[in-house]
């Protein structure tokens, strides 16, 4: 249980410690990658609540979504079309949907516990 938290802390620390900066035109890719990561993370949590969680789908989705978002943005930049907006839109929508689903599941979960505690 502590291992993921430890790795999160280590990742955050590493992010703070990295000194190098990337050029301004690539910050777009970074934000898209973060958004994709968010999406996958919340998707994983939702899948966990729905008991359909699959490690392979989770991990491949994590990296694949990030890569896809970045590639989409890259193509958009090359064509002069703001395709990254599409990625932002789709991923943002899914993040909200996932969070909403998670919220419902949490309420349901608490209801079930309450029912177990006070079964009258």
């Amino acid at each position: 249980m502590w291992l993921p938290v430890l790795f999160l802390v280590v990742g955050i620390a590493l992010g703070f410690l990295t000194d190098f900066t990337i050029a301004e035109q690539y910050t777009k890719y970074l934000s898209i990658a973060i958004l994709a990561a968010f999406d996958t993370l919340f998707g994983g949590i939702r899948a966990h609540f729905e008991k359909t969680f699959d490690q392979m789908i989770f991990i491949s989705g994590f990296f694949f979504n990030i890569t896809l978002a970045v590639i989409l943005t890259f193509i958009g930049v090359q064509l002069g079309v703001d395709l990254y907006l599409a990625a932002v839109f789709a991923l943002g929508l899914r993040v909200f949907q996932n969070i909403a689903t998670i919220r419902r599941h949490i309420f349901q979960y608490r209801k079930q516990i309450n029912q177990k505690k006070f079964p009258f």
């Binding site: 291992l3 790795f7 999160l8 990742g11 955050i12 620390a13 992010g15 900066t21 973060i34």
Partner: protein, 230 residues
């Protein structure tokens, strides 16, 4: 085992997630900082611009000062040249006066008058009436000065403002130096004027001829006279 594997995957995903988040955060911070830097730079730019304007103002002022000074110099130079011209005129005048007073040697066109005693002196007459006297010489000299002679010499001896001419028996003494007849009186000046004034009817030459003196008048292209010695 299964639980552990899931944890590892979560760890990996969270690690990447955390890294991305913080990296992005730092990136954004790095891109907001340049704005402050820009502001600082702008202030510095402004400061340097102000300084530049000040320098240019100062330059302008100094340039104007230089112009003023140049004009002053020009004015002084004109004044100096005017003074130099005045001095030159004064020097010319002084030189001319020195030439006239005999402080400098002089040369120029002029006239000479040669007077000699009469060759024929009748024995019954007084010899004094047939020879050249100091008054004749003085007459000639005065007439020449009146006619504008600048310098006069008797037998090569120059006459100055304090010179004297007088008879000592048969010779004439000029400033204490005796000369026998004939006497040649040379005058530097306009030869025509000098000659005409001498040859005026009942003028100097007529008087001399009446006094039985032989007179010879001639023009000379250049007459040289030395400066006063002592």
């Amino acid at each position: 085992m299964k639980l552990r594997g899931r944890h590892v995957i979560f760890s990996l995903v969270l690690f990447v997630f955390g890294f991305l988040i913080t990296f992005s955060y730092q990136q954004t911070k790095n891109f907001t900082q340049p704005n402050e830097l820009d502001e600082q730079e702008w202030e510095r730019d402004f400061f340097y611009r102000q300084q530049l304007i000040q320098f240019e103002d100062k330059n302008n002022q100094l340039q104007r000062e230089i112009d003023q000074k140049r004009q002053d110099i020009l004015r002084l130079e004109r004044q100096l040249s005017a003074e130099a011209e005045e001095i030159e005129i004064a020097v010319d005048k002084k030189t001319k006066l020195q030439l006239i007073t005999g402080e400098l040697p002089i040369q120029g066109p002029g006239l000479f008058v040669t007077v000699r005693d009469s060759e024929y002196i009748p024995s019954e007459e007084n010899v004094n009436q047939y020879i050249v006297h100091d008054r004749h010489i003085q007459l000639i000299i005065n007439e020449m000065y009146s006619a504008g002679a600048e310098a006069i010499a008797i037998n090569g001896q120059r006459i100055f403002s304090d010179s004297y001419v007088y008879c000592v028996g048969p010779v004439i003494s000029v400033d204490g130096i005796q000369y026998p007849a004939p006497f040649t009186i040379e005058a530097i000046g306009d030869p025509d004027t000098l000659q005409e004034s001498l040859e005026m009817p009942s003028g100097v030459i007529d008087i001399l001829l009446n006094d039985q003196i032989e007179v010879e008048v001639g023009k000379k292209q250049t007459i040289e006279m030395g400066a006063r010695i002592g």
